[in-house]
């Protein structure tokens, strides 16, 4: 059952990302990406990571993409008209480079010996476990991320101010 779900959700993810890249209307791209984030969250749930799945929807689909949609609406971007983005020569070259990169990754990933996933314990991926790790082993990184977020907030407010 979980296998079927993996194939369904991975198909939805790849399809939405592919469609998103080739849309003319940026709002349609944003909405397709939100759908892709949803199916990615479903994949996280299949991987026994419910906390990360909920955060994916909260942060990515619920905050970052809202920012994107806000900016698209504020800038009043409609469908892009011609000229097209890139010529066909460049597109085929990029496609070749992309597939070479993909084959390189696939080759690198097959270093892991092929075994199935081990059985998972009861509280794997639960907020308690993540909290324990976050506040003991990764506390310094946590505090640094705090400072980074503060810098980001100040920077974003500054960039958004109108010049008077």
């Amino acid at each position: 059952m979980a296998d079927y779900l993996f194939y369904i959700f991975s198909f939805i993810t790849v399809l939405t990302v592919l469609l998103m890249i080739f849309q003319k209307n940026p709002l349609a791209s944003a909405l397709l990406l939100i759908l892709g984030f949803f199916s990615l969250a479903a994949l996280y749930i299949l991987l026994h990571a419910p906390f990360i799945a909920a955060l994916q929807i909260l942060v990515y689909a619920g905050a970052i993409m809202v920012l994107f949609v806000f900016v698209i609406m504020l800038l009043n971007l409609k469908k892009t008209v011609s000229p097209p983005d890139t010529g066909w020569i460049k597109k085929t070259l990029i496609f070749l480079v992309g597939s070479v990169l993909f084959l390189f990754f696939v080759f690198a990933f097959f270093c892991i010996p092929e075994t199935l996933f081990p059985a998972v314990s009861e509280g794997f991926g639960s907020p308690e476990k993540i909290g324990e790790l976050l506040f003991s082993k990764y506390i310094i990184a946590f505090e640094l991320i705090d400072i980074l977020l503060l810098a980001g907030i100040v920077g974003a407010v500054l960039l958004g101010k109108k010049e008077t």
Binding site: L27, I34, P50, F51, A61, G62, V66, M73, P127, E128
Partner: protein, 420 residues
């Protein structure tokens, strides 16, 4: 019963309950606002002459909305225009799955949860879904191809995301104390004694949550985006018949869910005050006995009052005998309760019946608390004036956000002092 049957029942029974509370809430709003404004309220819609105090008005509303003309603005973006109300209703209608209606009990040696989905990340699921509700407003405002709608949609969306932050932070102090994200654990940790409930334990979190949830559901005093006199109904100005009904329903479902959250997180949820679950289970048959006697007396009294209410024959049709009909109905209900009590008395009930009756009583108490909070929503709407947009933003960012952050620090210090 098999797994799938119980799952379908667990999902559909609260769904039907919530969606049948929506027309009741519409009626409550119109009648309640009428009595606050010292007027009788809607009392005309009738079936076969029975007016039922205006309870048929929501049905009349739905029928009217279905038969209105379905407008599609000329240069609106078709797909987003149709998607927006559907998204709003979808997000509103899957939030109830993590709210428990009764205590989890052992049935056939297996813990049976009275909620649609037993997730260990309950509150996070609700917060994630309220972040998604913003998209419905944005898309509705943008796709209507109307400057007022766009402004209303952007304002409403920015208001919602500002107050989402304070909402989440207010809940963090609660989660810190309870140690779990599941709503059931929070309800269990507030015991049955009302002075252990979270609104006394953490009043600042309750206050911040209360104010933030008004802004999240776009209710007065924060309904500037949909204010009729300010922005011509904001983001749903171009929506006509069924699509407008979907926005309307979504708003009321949001109100019900927000009241359910307040009742669950701060007022003990399904806990009956002063009656713990074990006490209820031991003395179940006497609870049923006295409860039925009380209900029977109440219904009989009400029925007799309604029947003997002497009205002049004014309309010369069925409307004159309305109170008699309702009185007879209530009298019959009361008599059936009395018959049950006389037949069975205080007979001991089987274990299965005890479990289900306990769950039913706890569910009824939860429903009562939800209705009290819905009434508070309606009461506040017709009492307080609307806040201006900059005052709203100032409240959200400059007052509520630092308050909730300070509350987290204070709760952390309290935890250290009391737990050691």
């Amino acid at each position: 019963m098999s797994y799938w049957v119980t799952l379908i029942l667990k999902i559909s029974i609260p769904f039907v309950l919530i969606f049948s509370l929506v027309p009741f809430l519409v009626w409550l709003e119109r009648k309640g606002s009428a009595y606050i404004q010292d007027r009788p309220g809607p009392n005309r819609a009738a079936i076969l002459g029975l007016r039922l105090g205006g309870l048929l008005h929501p049905l009349a509303d739905v029928i009217k909305l279905i038969f209105k003309e379905n407008i599609m603005p000329a240069r609106a973006h078709r797909f987003f225009y149709i998607l927006a109300p559907g998204l709003a209703l979808f997000v509103a209608s899957i939030t109830y799955l993590v709210i428990p209606f009764a205590e989890p009990t052992l049935i056939n040696n297996e813990l049976f949860y009275f909620q649609g989905a037993h997730l260990n990340i309950g509150i996070l699921y609700i917060l994630a879904l309220s972040s998604l509700g913003v998209y419905a407003l944005l898309l509705a405002g943008w796709s209507s191809n109307n400057k007022f709608a766009l402004l209303g949609g952007l304002r409403s969306a920015s208001q919602m995301i500002s107050y989402e932050l304070s909402l989440g932070l207010a809940l963090i102090s609660l989660i810190m104390w309870t140690g779990s994200l599941a709503i059931n654990d929070i309800i269990v940790s507030q015991t049955h004694l009302p002075w252990h409930w979270n609104f006394i334990f953490d009043p600042i979190a309750f206050l911040v949550f209360f104010i933030a949830v008004f802004a999240e559901t776009n209710r007065t005093p924060f309904d500037l985006p949909e204010g009729e006199s300010e922005l011509v109904a904001g983001y749903h100005v171009e929506y006509s018949s069924l699509k407008f009904a979907m926005f309307f329903m979504a708003e009321y479902v949001h109100i019900i869910i927000a009241s359910a959250l307040m009742a669950a997180l701060f007022f003990g949820g399904w806990q009956i005050p002063f009656v713990s679950s074990s006490f209820l289970r031991e003395h179940c048959s006497s609870f049923v006995f006295f409860g039925l006697i009380f209900t029977a007396c109440f219904l009989l009294l009400l029925g007799i009052i309604l029947i003997t209410n002497n009205k002049k024959i004014h309309y010369k049709d069925l409307r004159d005998f309305e109170s008699v009909i309702m009185g007879v109905f209530l009298l019959l209900l009361g008599l059936s309760c009395l018959v049950y009590v006389l037949l069975f008395g205080k007979a001991p009930l089987s274990d299965n019946a005890v479990i289900w009756i306990t769950a039913f009583l706890q569910g009824c108490v939860f429903l009562f608390k939800i209705l009290v909070f819905c009434w508070i929503f309606i009461w506040v709407r017709w009492t307080l004036p609307r806040m201006r947009y900059d005052q709203l933003m100032k409240l959200g960012w400059k007052i509520l956000l630092p308050l909730s952050m300070a509350n987290i620090i204070v709760t952390a210090i309290r935890m250290i002092i009391t737990n050691g």
